[in-house]
Symmetry: C2
Subunit: 473 residues, 2 copies
């Protein structure tokens, strides 16, 4: 016991030794050993962390090989652009500014085609605009004499940078030209300032623009030719996947409540949480998808915004499933006889609603109006009707007395409090089916709009299209 | 009629004229006039749009003057950094690379202190690391002979760019070093490639690092000295504001349902939607707040993550309010007598819960445990008890017959279906109060953790802190 205590307090003693306020109780070899042990512990802990980190990274790569492909694409594009530096003729053309091409590739290369196109177009347009403007400002500054030149340049930078920064806060500008505004400030400042030192101002502007065009073209080629990932396609798949998840968790939650089966997959039940949390990614994908040319079954100007509406409808269903879930957690106090009474109709409503959502997912996937959706909605409504009737007849099972809870077994009647959880569940189910009808509406609108866009694209090749536009004047 | 038709088809005729396939039916003055009218229409339409856009921008600036201040700060920082170019001594020091300082300011300057610090630190560290690594790679490449040099450099760029890009997908790296990884690729590529052409490699790396340090220091000075906006403070205010909104809309919704008053402010009722949609901004603010030094009442390492937990608790309440809202929209079918029966206790529950949330907001605001919160929760629980009793006694009002709906007026009893909406509302209210208790728990945890951090900060100035840390070995 005593030696154990000594061991425990050893460290504290040593600290006092350092202070010089106490005697040496532990031999110096002990100190060295402890330092060694501590270092070993630190290293092994660090090694563990590194191993965990590498495992996490490996799993991520194995789960989504497209991420690995993206990394290889970035490496490829950068190595190709380095050729600009290595090959003499190209180098002579764009001079030391070839570095701008490298910078463009690093900054502009994004995982999806839409995001890359957005950045490329913004970068090129903003660079051109800012370059011309800066040359103009420089001309004005040079006319105003040597003394005022710095002031004119400085004031123009201050004003234009402030305005461009402010424009980035405006939602419509932010969604389309946020990156462009930043590049505008950057190019304008650099070209306007360089004008004061570098005499070959036009050369600088020209070189910067041409290197940026080299960089962006290379990015666009690589991103579109090597295993392209389209924002639009991603948004489309995400919507379909989320619908499937919604359908699974709705069905699973109600089944769990009435059958008490523990066989339900917990991950399946929690699927609606993905729907709740995918708003931000849906918005950014829809934003980038607008920049993409037609790919696969999607035309340029496919109604991407409609996907956001579908997403909002799905989320409104998911909120209700969240509320439903809380019912399930509190439903242990519900009477078995009531549960039995409502179970058939509730299960019917949930299974018909979830198969309606599944059918909607199929409809979005194939991008045509499902022939069976009307039938399924009708089925859902007749199941709802049945649930209504069952709810109405529930009052027969009810014990009108509030205090006679010990009479239950004798009469088979249930106190009012015990029906509340099940009634709440049923009424949330009814609300969910109302929201599913709204979802049906937004999916149908998407299908209709996409068919309309297809027709417009087909028509635009004929002269009538332009003529009609002129007639509208 | 005939002339009207001619007028309508005039445009079409003109197009055929252009084709040369038809006679001139409309006099040339008409053509000119129409072109003029059309141009005028276009210009006035464009003018209208520009005016609308400017009005939108003006309103935004007027509503949040801090955005305008941010823009002026960006202009200021850029103008100051231009001095680097204008002043001869500084210019001689860092050479033509002074442009890097400008670029740093443009790219790094963000509206909040946290975001700017995050970018600054990432930029400086990544540039240093990449610079040293690139010099090392260049030395190895130069040892391998002229023939292999491009291959060594190219391969190193390919491998490092791929790895760094991959690391940006890993969540823990993404939240802390996303920007740093990009800057690492950028600097490494430029310095490694330049090594092939520019002989003064060390000079390049040194100049780039020193200009970036000039740029970042300037940014940090301007962002922290001129009307600083702290991410942490913003997150704190957002949380308090959202709690107030949640409280208002909970109280408003229930009041609207039972009193049928149209005097409720619709904007107040919809406040919970802000809570639903603020997840992304909360996360980014908490992420940036970690980088901020102590400011106001917040220490460095204030428990920012706890705000995310509070946000999640608030959202779980908001989901229920969403479900509650749908009850209100369908409650027109609820019987008046039932509503009257439950209205007192429901209103009591909602007002006590909403004042509990208000008190929590106050507690977060002042960052100390509220003395009255326990009392308010108790009050809420006693109101819940009352609601339970009212629900129990509801069965007296119930008409056990499902078909005798015409008997209502005679007996004063209500058919079962008409109580469902109110019962659902009551049971959602009960669920909301359960979730408010969870919210109370997370707010208390925040207050406790923040007090603990305060103590640790106070203690760290004394030697006991380090001694305890050593004792734990």
């Amino acid at each position: 016991m005593a030696s154990g205590k000594e061991l425990c307090e050893g460290v504290e003693w040593r600290i006092r030794v350092v202070d010089g306020s106490s005697e040496v109780l532990v031999p110096p070899t002990g100190l060295a050993r402890k330092v060694w042990l501590r270092t070993k512990g630190l290293i092994s802990g660090l090694g563990m962390k590194v191993r965990m980190f590498l495992k996490q990274a490996w799993d991520m790569g194995a789960n989504d090989p497209r991420k690995v492909i993206h990394c290889i694409k970035v490496g490829l594009a950068l190595t190709i652009v380095s050729l600009v530096y290595f090959m003499r003729p190209l180098y002579d053309g764009v001079g030391g500014n070839a570095m701008w091409a490298i910078m463009t590739v690093v900054v502009v290369f994004e995982p999806t085609v839409g995001a890359t196109l957005y950045k490329c177009l913004n970068r090129v347009c903003a660079t051109c605009l800012a370059g011309f403007l800066a040359v103009g400002v420089h001309w004005i500054a040079s006319q105003s004499g040597d003394r005022f030149e710095p002031f004119v340049v400085g004031a123009s930078i201050f004003i234009l940078a402030s305005i461009a920064t402010f424009s980035r806060f405006i939602p419509s500008v932010k969604s389309m030209f946020d990156y462009g505004a930043m590049i505008f400030i950057l190019t304008f400042s650099i070209v306007a300032i360089s004008g004061y030192r570098v005499d070959k101002l036009f050369d600088l502007a020209h070189q910067r623009i041409s290197t940026i065009i080299i960089g962006t073209s290379l990015c666009i080629l690589v991103i579109m030719l090597v295993c392209p990932i389209w924002s639009g396609q991603e948004l489309h798949s995400l919507t379909v996947r989320n619908m499937d998840k919604l359908s699974d968790s709705l069905d699973g939650c109600v089944r769990l409540c009435f059958t008490n089966s523990n066989g339900e997959d917990d991950q399946k039940l929690q699927g609606y949480k993905c729907v709740l949390s995918s708003k931000a990614s849906e918005e950014s994908m829809a934003n980038f998808a607008r920049w993409e040319p037609s790919h696969g079954r999607f035309n340029f100007r496919h109604p991407w915004k409609q996907y956001l509406k579908i997403g909002a409808s799905m989320r409104s269903c998911a909120y209700c499933i969240e509320a439903l879930n809380s019912c399930i957690n509190s439903e242990n106090q519900a009477a078995e006889s009531i549960k039995k009474h409502l179970s058939t109709s509730c299960l019917k409503v949930s299974s018909s609603s979830s198969s309606a959502i599944k059918e909607l997912a199929e409809s979005v996937k194939k991008m045509n109006k499902s022939p069976t959706i009307d039938l399924l909605v009708e089925e859902m409504n007749s199941a709802l009707e049945e649930l209504h009737n069952d709810l109405k007849s529930l009052s027969h099972l009810l014990n009108p007395s509030t205090t006679a809870e010990n009479q239950i077994s004798a009469t088979g009647l249930v106190p009012f409090m015990e029906i509340i959880p099940v009634v709440t569940l049923a009424s949330i189910l009814i609300e969910i089916s109302v929201r599913i009808e709204a979802l049906v509406g937004s999916v149908e609108e998407l299908v209709k709009e996409s068919e309309m866009k297809d027709k417009i694209v087909a028509k635009e090749e004929k002269p009538e299209g332009t003529m009609k536009a002129l007639q509208r004047v």
